[in-house]
């Protein structure tokens, strides 16, 4: 099973869409709230070089934004 992390903020609709999508797929993920966890926010920005949520980390690959196709491709690997 792939290790999945979702970097999100509570107010962001795309984050909710992404998390709902993963739930529907029945995959487990760790939800990291970068609005409270500043260290995680820095880590996310360092890893991807991008400042925007959601970012979904699957098998150490980071997908920026809610991109269903990219998530499915990465899950399918």
């Amino acid at each position: 099973m792939a290790k999945i992390k979702v970097y999100s903020t509570p107010t962001c609709p795309y984050c909710r869409l992404a998390k709902n999508f993963l739930k529907e797929k029945g995959v487990d993920f760790e939800d990291v709230d970068v609005s409270v966890d500043r260290k995680a926010a820095e880590e996310m920005i360092q890893k991807s070089g991008q400042m925007g949520v959601p970012q979904i980390e699957i098998n150490e690959k980071i997908i920026v934004g809610f991109d269903k196709g990219a998530i499915e491709r990465e899950l399918g690997k």
């Binding site: 107010t11 970068v34 609005s35 400042m51």
Partner: protein, 304 residues
């Protein structure tokens, strides 16, 4: 050959699809995502039948309704152009081409871009169009909000409790919007309002470092900021209706039957020049467009 191809799956596109399914038209829905802008509304209190529902939940209901029919849907697909051929249309996408007798453009709207150097390069590297999403990432930083309307003020207000300093870069003489918000902004010692200010450039290295602005006709000024929130309204996603007649706001011109100037091509919802951009209006137009497409096919004989 499809009877109907619907481009976009927001309230207009989904309603059009439900109507065409009930008319047994061979239908294909091509869309980037399901729900569109509507799913971003935090609460919807004026869609009949629901006194109070979130945009996300309402879209979920739309999607369930859509998927209760056997309709072919291609998601994650961008339509580049709907082209008129002799007596049918060709829908060109980033993943292939499809032919149809009729098509409905229901692509809605997207955040308006500023169009200055650096904007695209630094997107998600300090430049953002979603304050609700990304504001928390700018804790303790200096930021600029571009815009002077309600959405810009809303972004500035959200940032008050997060950022260190907020420049509100407004191209007009004064802020325009709800008095309550204007008052809140003017009272805050964190917000500096710059009226008659034009944003010229966004610069940085890996991330945004500063923006160049010009107030009135005075010399250009550099503001050191790490974040740029662009909140200058929305624009129609009219790309697929290439060559179709639009008004001065780039909205596709439709008549009461949701017909465009191209025979067989219809448009519905926020991408059109319909006077009110509302979920329920978009849904209503979706229904009209679908029924118009059905009538168009019934009236015309094709050698498909």
């Amino acid at each position: 050959m499809y009877d109907l191809i619907i481009v976009g799956a927001g309230p207009a596109g989904i309603t059009a699809a439900v109507y065409s399914a009930r008319k047994k038209m061979k239908t294909l829905v091509i869309t980037k995502n399901i729900g569109g802008y509507a799913s971003l509304s935090s609460t919807v209190e004026n869609y009949i039948g629901y006194q109070f529902i979130s945009g996300l939940e309402l879209v979920k209901k739309f999607e369930e309704h859509l998927k209760s029919f056997d309709i072919e849907i291609k998601e994650n697909t961008e339509v580049l152009c709907v082209r008129k051929l002799n007596n049918h249309l060709r829908v060109e996408t980033d993943k292939g081409e499809y032919e149809c007798l009729t098509a409905i453009v229901a692509t809605g709207r997207e955040p308006r871009i500023l169009g200055v150097p650096g904007e695209i390069k630094f997107r998600n590297r300090g430049v953002t169009y979603c304050a609700t999403c990304d504001a928390p990432l700018f804790a303790g930083k200096d930021v600029a909000v571009i815009g002077g309307g309600n959405s810009a003020m809303d972004a500035a207000i959200q940032l008050m409790s997060i950022a260190n300093k907020i420049y509100l870069i407004n191209i007009d003489d004064d802020l325009a919007g709800d008095e309550v918000m204007i008052e809140k902004i003017k009272k805050s010692d964190k917000v500096e309002i710059l009226n008659n200010a034009k944003t010229k450039e966004i610069s940085g290295n890996k991330f945004v470092n500063n923006i160049k602005i010009q107030v009135n006709k005075s010399a250009e000024r550099i503001l050191d900021v790490q974040g740029v929130f662009i909140e200058i309204g929305s624009m129609p996603v009219k790309g697929p209706g290439c060559g179709v007649n639009t008004n001065e706001k780039d909205e596709i011109i439709v008549n009461q039957r949701c017909e465009t100037d191209i025979p067989g091509l219809f448009a519905a919802g926020d991408v059109t020049d319909v006077p009110e951009k509302q979920i329920i209006v978009a849904a209503g137009q979706g229904a009209i467009a679908s029924l118009s497409a059905f009538k168009y096919i019934s009236k015309n004989i094709f050698d498909a």
